[in-house]
């Protein structure tokens, strides 16, 4: 009996340790291939070259165009999702009557639950043709259409996390605001939002991390041409789309082309790791979970 109890405790501990092993596995796999990659390509070239052409005869390994594509689409997405997400969060937490909340919350959850390959179809075959009616110079593959769709996709994440932050503001602070004669809107934007600001920033950072890591939507609708540009009307390739592009081809194991996806993956993992950690720390410090 005693033995069984102790055994179960260690069994459950082993389950919990899987999370550490997963992180360890990710770091091991990424580092292993990335180190092999950097034996053939110098880090200086990787960071400073302005071209990314590992599949061409004249190979260049500058990650700048891929990072640029990722940043461009993410910035467009955040420009859509942050203001809208905050407005919706303020509305839902301070204004919306219970019935409207009961309808809106599940709808937003459905929006968040749609597979990203579906958003890719929508961006490529609906949003981009629609935008082309207003902007004729928009290419078939571009950063703008999928960027906007990505923004709508992460909107529920921004609004629900910001809403949690707004909820944690003590009622006494709001009451103090009203007692001073402030209107509801004034209380919202000069008391509630500033007090919840760390939580809102944490939500924004997490949304940024999500946008950077999004794959299928951008692989389908943004294009597969590494392009060092900030023009949202042109086709770009994100880091994630590049990994998909190589994975679809039959690149043999152990070649430099095969290793590029791990090098790109390492950059992607580091970027999201930094953002997630910042967001986690902010929430840990300012919000009692």
């Amino acid at each position: 009996m005693k033995n069984k109890e102790a055994f179960l405790k260690y069994l459950f501990l082993a389950c919990a340790l899987v999370s550490i092993l997963t992180t360890g596995g990710i770091i091991y796999v990424l580092l292993f291939e990335t180190i092999a990659f950097f034996k053939e390509v110098s880090i200086i070239e990787f960071l400073t070259d302005k071209e990314w052409t590992p599949l061409f005869v004249n190979k260049h390994f500058g990650i700048a165009p891929l990072v640029c594509g990722t940043v461009l689409t993410s910035v467009i997405a955040l420009a859509v999702a942050l203001p809208m997400g905050l407005l919706v969060a303020v509305y839902l937490s301070e204004y919306a009557p219970a019935q409207i909340r009961r309808v809106l919350k599940p709808v937003f959850e459905i929006l968040a639950g749609i597979p990203t390959v579906v958003y890719g179809y929508f961006a490529l075959l609906f949003v981009t043709p629609l935008l082309q009616k207003f902007i004729p110079s928009l290419q078939g593959f571009n950063a703008l259409g999928p960027g906007i769709v990505l923004g709508v996709m992460i909107l529920p994440l921004v609004s629900s996390l910001s809403e949690d932050a707004l909820y944690s503001v003590p009622t006494s602070l709001k009451a103090a605001g009203y007692a001073l004669g402030a209107t509801k809107l004034q209380v919202c934007f000069s008391v509630v939002v500033p007090t919840a600001f760390p939580g809102i920033i944490a939500a924004f950072i997490l949304a940024m991390s999500r946008a950077i890591g999004e794959t299928m939507l951008l692989a389908i609708a943004a294009g597969q041409m590494p392009n060092l540009t900030l023009n949202p009307l042109e086709a770009v390739e994100t880091m994630t789309a590049y990994i998909v592009q190589i994975s679809l081809g039959d690149t043999p194991h152990g070649t430099i082309e095969y290793r590029t996806i791990f090098a790109v993956g390492t950059v992607l993992f580091l970027m999201t790791l930094v953002l997630n950690t910042i967001s986690y720390r902010i929430r840990e410090r300012f919000i009692r979970i």
Binding site: S19, T22, G181, L185, T215, M216, I220, V244, L268
Partner: protein, 308 residues
């Protein structure tokens, strides 16, 4: 009493408290702007959902028939179907549930019932939080390096399912922990007082009470796993498969991969196939989500506690 009422309560008004007409107009304007902003945001959010569903249905519903569900992929769009993709997806999901649910619930039990506040627990918690935010494509690279290469499982159904299991593990752990945490401490104490051991208490009282919440998390995890494409493509799932997976080591494809394959082709016929596939995928996802929401709603009503 009288003196108090007569006394001027506010002697000097702060400048911002004086509601001059101009100030009032400005406040009114801000309120209108706020209302417009909220309306636009809600319109874009809901409008996108509606436009997406309508667009996909217009493109895909005419193509959706029995032949489409029971045919293997083909060069000719009109003869192609999603049988292999459906078979692959079902296989993936079943194995993923079998692998991830026991580990996820086990980890949650450890963290809620056994762990003490120490460095190891902190490390586990930080890892789970970070894994929940790691892009899915990174899991694909993990699957490729670990299961496909290191363990030599090839680009098979089992490699794909193990990759997806690791991907959804944080979702299950977080949901199971929340439901276990919400089981009142008094239940445990009552059970201990009757002489039950720790495991008996967990098995007979804590887990049954935490079941609905955990199930909600599991359903959401399944709905996530069904739609995942990037990790499977990265670990090397095939895009053209004309057979059903018949073993754990069998090559496979999955519904979202088949959709992706059809979207990336230029012919309009394949786009229609993609739309029809999306209708099936959305239907499954919506049904799962609706079921999860329904469970959570019932749970909330029953316990009166706001969950998740």
């Amino acid at each position: 009493m009288m003196t108090l009422l007569e006394a001027p309560i506010i002697e000097k008004k702060e400048s911002w408290m004086v509601t001059k007409p101009r100030r009032k107009a400005k406040l009114r304007l801000m309120e209108i702007l706020f209302a417009i902003g909220v309306s636009i945001s809600l319109f874009i959010g809901l409008g996108t959902l509606l436009a997406l569903i309508i667009d996909v249905c217009i493109d895909g519903l005419p193509r959706l028939n029995w032949q489409f569900l029971t045919s293997f992929p083909s060069r000719r769009p009109a003869e192609a179907g999603i049988l292999a993709a459906l078979g692959g997806s079902i296989g993936l999901i079943l194995i993923t549930i079998i692998v991830s649910v026991p580990i996820g619930v086990g980890a949650a039990i450890y963290l809620e019932e056994y762990s003490r506040k120490n460095k190891l627990t902190d490390l586990i918690e930080i890892n789970i939080a970070n894994l929940a935010g790691t892009p899915s494509i990174i899991y694909g690279l993990l699957g490729l390096g670990l299961f496909v290469r290191f363990f030599g499982l090839e680009r098979s159904l089992i490699s794909g399912a193990l990759t997806l299991s690791l991907l959804v593990l944080p979702i299950i752990i977080i949901a199971a922990r929340e439901s276990i945490c919400r089981v009142p401490q008094t239940i445990r104490e009552a059970s201990f007082a009757l002489g039950a051991t720790k495991w008996q208490t967990i098995r007979d009282h804590v887990l049954p009470m935490a079941f609905p919440g955990t199930l909600t998390g599991i359903i959401l995890a399944v709905s996530r796993a069904i739609g995942e494409t990037a990790p499977l493509i990265t670990m090397g799932a095939l895009t053209y498969v004309a057979f059903l997976p018949d073993s754990l080591k069998s090559p496979f494809t999955a519904l979202p991969i088949q959709i992706f394959n059809w979207v990336s082709r230029p012919q309009k016929g394949f786009h229609e196939n993609a739309a029809a596939g999306i209708v099936v995928l959305l239907l499954v996802t919506f049904l799962l989500n609706a079921f999860a929401l329904f469970l959570r709603d019932r749970l909330q009503k029953k316990s009166g506690i706001k969950s998740m």
